[in-house]
């Protein structure tokens, strides 16, 4: 299987051949930043197209079909449009918080995105505390949403922000606890270590029932954390116009939009890494020939394939279920998911012992 560390170390060697160590580091920082931002933007375009197409099929429509073959360039056209749109200055907002909020949301999302292992040897930074880092950084986004709702000086944004605050803080708990079940199983928080341990068998199979329960809980909680239906109370368009980002226009709104789509991908990617083996191919112990064949498929394809499978699950849920009420939402978290995930960790600990 191709190891991307060959490419990255070649670039490193190449830069070191004519730059000093410090400058090499600096150039690498900039390069990695550019690559991550570019990947972020491209993935967002792809996800928006996928969402619109999948949504259309669920509703028995064709979806975007005019710009480019099968409408694949539709989201590029939309991107150009949103970049050219006027930014409307709103009176009586708190300008500093209004501007800072969208950056907080998108920076939290990019920081999480940057630490994901995309393929063999293709990981920006491999923290010893990988899983914890992902949880920590993604929890910053809620501050941005709260500030956006408050600073817009509008009752709809305010209600949206309050709802999303309650929702995100609650669902973060069971998302974290379900990931902890896998940490218990693997005995490590390092993402590369977790992926490597799934070489023989993915954790969702290795961990028997607790891993599967954790997987389902993580998908539900992660889906709720991305503020998408049936958990889209913060931006419920029928009651709150657009929730916390009602007052944002042009690319300012685009930031929230981008972050929402990429958060959906990030949740899918974390679920992939923790439960479905990350970039590891599907291996079944004993089936040597089958494992050999699976190894020929590049790791990037495995990772993105599995991540998009999870994205499809999220879209399926989104377009199939009606929106929950806020009390149902909080009951689901505190009375159902939380106890189950706590018991699940116990079960997992017993299994490991």
């Amino acid at each position: 299987m191709f190891d991307f560390a060959i490419v990255t170390s070649w670039i490193d060697q190449f830069l070191r051949s004519f730059l000093s160590a410090g400058w090499t580091l600096f150039v690498e920082f900039v390069l990695i930043g550019l690559v991550i931002l570019a990947l972020y933007a491209v993935l967002a375009l792809l996800l928006i197209y996928v969402e619109r197409k999948v949504c259309a099929f669920f509703q028995c429509r064709i979806g975007p079909n005019r710009v480019g073959p099968w409408g694949v360039l539709q989201s590029v056209a939309d991107m150009v449009k949103i970049l050219l749109k006027e930014l409307i200055n709103i009176k009586r907002v708190d300008p500093f918080l209004f501007k800072a909020a969208m950056f907080l949301v998108i920076i939290a999302s990019i920081c999480t995105f940057g630490a994901l292992p995309f393929a063999r040897g293709l990981q920006t930074i491999d923290f010893n505390i990988g899983v914890f880092y992902l949880l920590a950084v993604s929890s910053l986004g809620v501050v941005g949403i709260l500030l956006a709702g408050w600073s817009s000086n509008n009752k709809y944004t305010m209600i949206g922000a309050m709802r999303s605050g309650a929702q995100l803080i609650s669902y973060e708990l069971s998302a974290g606890l379900s990931l902890m079940a896998i940490v218990v199983l693997s005995g490590s928080m390092q993402l590369s270590e977790i992926v490597n341990q799934q070489a023989e068998m993915w954790f969702i199979f290795k961990g028997h029932i607790p891993a599967f329960i954790a997987f389902v809980i993580y998908l539900i909680a992660g889906h709720a954390e991305t503020n998408r239906g049936p958990f889209d109370l913060p931006e419920a368009e029928s009651e709150l116009t657009a929730g916390y980002h009602t007052e944002y226009s042009g690319i300012q709104f685009g930031f929230f939009y981008l972050a929402e789509y990429l958060n959906m991908f990030i949740v899918a990617a974390i679920a992939t890494t923790m439960f479905l083996g990350g970039w590891m191919p599907l291996h079944i112990p004993g089936w040597e020939g089958f494992n050999q064949v699976m190894d020929f498929i590049p790791s990037v394809i495995w990772f993105f394939g599995k991540a998009f499978l999870c994205v499809f699950l999220a879209l399926w849920v989104r377009w199939s279920f009606p929106r929950l009420r806020i009390d149902q939402l909080l009951n689901l978290e505190w009375k159902v998911l939380m106890p189950i995930s706590l018991i699940n960790i116990l079960l997992m600990a017993l299994l490991v012992l």
């Binding site: 160590a21 580091l25 929890s139 910053l140 501050v143």
Partner: protein
Amino acid sequence: MDATINLIIFYALAVVVLSMSVLAVTTKKILRAATYLLFVLIGTAGFYLMLNYHFLAAVQITVYAGGVVVLFIFAIFLVSSKGEVIEPHAKRKVVLGLLASVAGAAVVFFALFKHQFVIDSANTTMIGDQEMNMKVIGQALIGTGKYQYLLPFEILSVLLLACIIGGILIARKR
């Protein structure tokens, strides 16, 4: 050169932390103060990252930036009305506050200058090349031996539990 980059990052973080902490106490709007405080806390997490103490950095971000600041913002949402501006303090309070801050600064500077920092170029932990292993921290937190923290950890948990029950009791009083 590596040291230079470290120094540049350190000064950048220091400037952010210092300016944001001054802004946090001088701003007239309370929600802005909470936001500036958030930036101070993120900057502090940056210092921990520089020291390669990743665990502490992640804890700093989860607990303070993700938890405490969100709690502050919620409290502000619930108790203060829109656009409320903090009124100027009474003169006596200003004087007392100045005295308290001077006393606090004196204690900090005393500790800072009294402490003998070991500057050893051979000691790479000064630059921060070794990462603290998660396992070591976990075992220190749950161990019962010397320099291990099971008892404080449990006592703090009970304290937090008491706080939660107290909060529920106050909230449900009506």
